[in-house]
Amino acid sequence: MMAAGVQDRNRLATEYLKLLRSLATELEMATHAISHNALAELEESLADQQVLSAKLSVLAGELSGPGEANPTTSPIRVDDRDLRKQILIATDVLQKLNRGYAALLQHSSRSAALMASLLGSFKGQFQEASGPRSKYQTWSCQM
């Protein structure tokens, strides 16, 4: 029974590691999308991030759940030392990447707020483009 439990935990931990890495990749993709004004890619990445985050939350609960059920038992561990080390490294990378991504989002949100304020205060008559829609793509929201 014990061996089977360890095996399950390792399988879950491997899955957890895989999801951590996927989430890190998604953060990079989102950063790249913002910097390239690629709104569709950003929205797609955000959807993937939400799915990955939800799966990670569930897995984290599954990995730590039995420990809560039995307080006398030591906290659930990932028994494979190498796997455990990889999870810690991946978590650390994800955490730092998340900080950079958070900074970018914060900056972008602030810029968007500034832009909203600017648009709101613009009282002049707007110039409407007419004729064929050959207008260049603009960068107002490249923030």
Partner: protein, 455 residues
């Protein structure tokens, strides 16, 4: 998955790019209604990415600079049409001014011819009456004055056009100096890797103002724009400008000289200057020529008939009209030579109360002149000519105006700032950022969970 440093580097580059883009967009929106402003766009380039041991490194984005979105082809068309419209407007304004001298006011040439005809009919009925004789003399004086007034009006329009030539050349010289200086600024900014957008907009505005003054041809070179008149006379080359000059010609009008002193008056077309030269040297002289011919031929015909008759004193008829020797001065200088009404040659035989010559004098008004038309018809043709030219100029100006509006709209579609697009994108990005911020919080919580799990 790239290394952490790579990820942070990409993030920082993205921040720089975002900041630059924000600055540009603020500038775009602030200038959304600025005439001649063209939207600037951020030029970004993706950094190369490399794959090593299954991991991607590099990537991200670099802010290269800014680029204006002026559409040179449309700008060129706008300049050409502006030049054409300005020329047409100048001609239209002059022709409308001239039309006033040809309208039926009671003192115009047509009215005076009609009045002379009526007075001759009355004279025919009472050839011995001093009153009817005086009436014919007065009608002749009114006709001469009508010719004088019309000719002077045309000459006045010609002088106005001549003044416009001098004024236009001065304005052209001011603008070419400005354009040369702006060319230099753009070249320096470009050389230092900076955006010349604002200066280029100013340059385009100045070039457009120049095209209102004269037809121009533009070529791009490494030094900036090279601008010449339509016939190739240089006006601006890079940061150097070449002033035009004016000098009084043998006809008393201002001639335009290039920077070498060569007379280029006849080669200038388009713009206010081209329009003024067209009015002064072609339109007005053409109309004056018709008027002079009419005045001269009518007066000579009338004098010839007068000479074949006998006046109330029994003498052969003297000239009723005096015409300057120079045909070009006929209409402006025509006058009535006699002051005594008894000198009208009413009789063909010299007997008292004879009216034989009055019919011949009346026939001058209804018989074709050497030009092939009666006096009234010749004058009607002249009036039609003025009206037709004025109407054509007005119609052409309207058509060019519509064309210009379409071109300006096209320029707006390619170079203008579309606030609606900017706003729609802004809202979508804001929503995405909010969603991203919630995921950031979730990942922070996951980090805490993982650390708890591992301890």
């Amino acid at each position: 998955m790239g290394g952490l440093n790579t990820s942070l580097s990409i993030g920082m580059q993205a921040l720089d790019a975002a900041q630059g883009a924000l600055d540009v967009t603020s500038h775009n929106i602030a200038n959304a209604n600025t005439p001649g402003y063209s939207e600037e766009v951020v030029q970004l380039s993706a950094n190369s990415m490399t794959m090593s041991r299954g991991q991607v490194s590099g990537g991200g984005v670099t802010l290269d600079g800014l680029q204006g979105t002026q559409n040179q082809l449309i700008n060129l068309q706008i300049q050409q049409q502006t030049s054409l419209q300005s020329s047409t407007n100048t001609q239209s304004a002059s022709l409308q001014q001239m039309q006033t001298f040809f309208t039926t006011t009671g003192t115009d040439v047509a009215s005076a011819l009609t009045a002379l005809s009526s007075s001759l009919v009355a004279l025919s009925a009472s050839p011995g009456s001093s009153v009817t004789q005086q009436s014919v003399l007065a009608s002749g004086q009114n006709l001469a004055q009508a010719f004088n007034t019309t000719a002077n009006g045309l000459t006045s329009a010609q002088s106005t056009a001549d003044g416009l030539v001098t004024e236009s050349v001065a304005q052209i010289n001011t603008l070419t100096q400005q354009i040369g200086a702006l060319n230099g600024q753009v070249a320096r900014l470009t050389a230092s890797g900076q955006s010349g957008g604002a200066v280029e907009d100013q340059l385009n505005q100045s070039v457009q103002q120049l095209s209102q003054l004269t037809g121009i041809s533009i070529t791009q070179s490494s030094d900036g724009e090279t601008i010449t008149t339509g016939s190739g006379t240089p006006l601006v080359m890079g940061d150097q400008s070449f002033s035009l000059q004016t000098t009084t010609g043998s006809d008393g009008f201002q001639q335009v000289l290039d920077f070498n002193g060569k007379d280029i008056t006849n080669s200038i077309q388009g713009g206010q200057l081209g329009g003024a030269i067209q009015v002064r040297d072609t339109t007005v002289p053409g109309l004056l020529s018709q008027l002079n011919t009419l005045a001269s031929q009518f007066a000579n015909s009338f004098n010839a008939v007068q000479a074949g008759g006998i006046d109330s004193n029994g003498n052969p008829g003297q000239n009723v009209f005096t015409i300057p020797i120079n045909l070009a001065d006929a209409a402006s200088g025509i006058s009535v030579a006699i002051t005594n009404p008894a000198l009208i040659a009413v009789s063909s035989v010299g007997s008292p109360n004879s009216n034989g010559n009055v019919a011949s004098l009346s026939a001058v008004l209804t018989t074709a002149l050497p030009s092939g038309q009666t006096a009234a018809m010749a004058y009607a043709s002249l009036v039609f000519d003025v009206g037709s030219q004025a109407a054509n100029a007005s119609t052409q100006s309207t058509a060019i105006g519509e064309n210009l509006l379409q071109l300006t709209n096209q320029l707006g579609a390619t170079s203008g700032v579309n606030i609606n697009d900017e706003t729609a994108n802004l809202i979508r990005f804001q929503t995405a950022y909010e969603a991203g911020a919630r995921i950031v919080s979730t990942i922070q919580q996951l980090y805490a969970d993982t650390m708890n799990m591992m301890t």
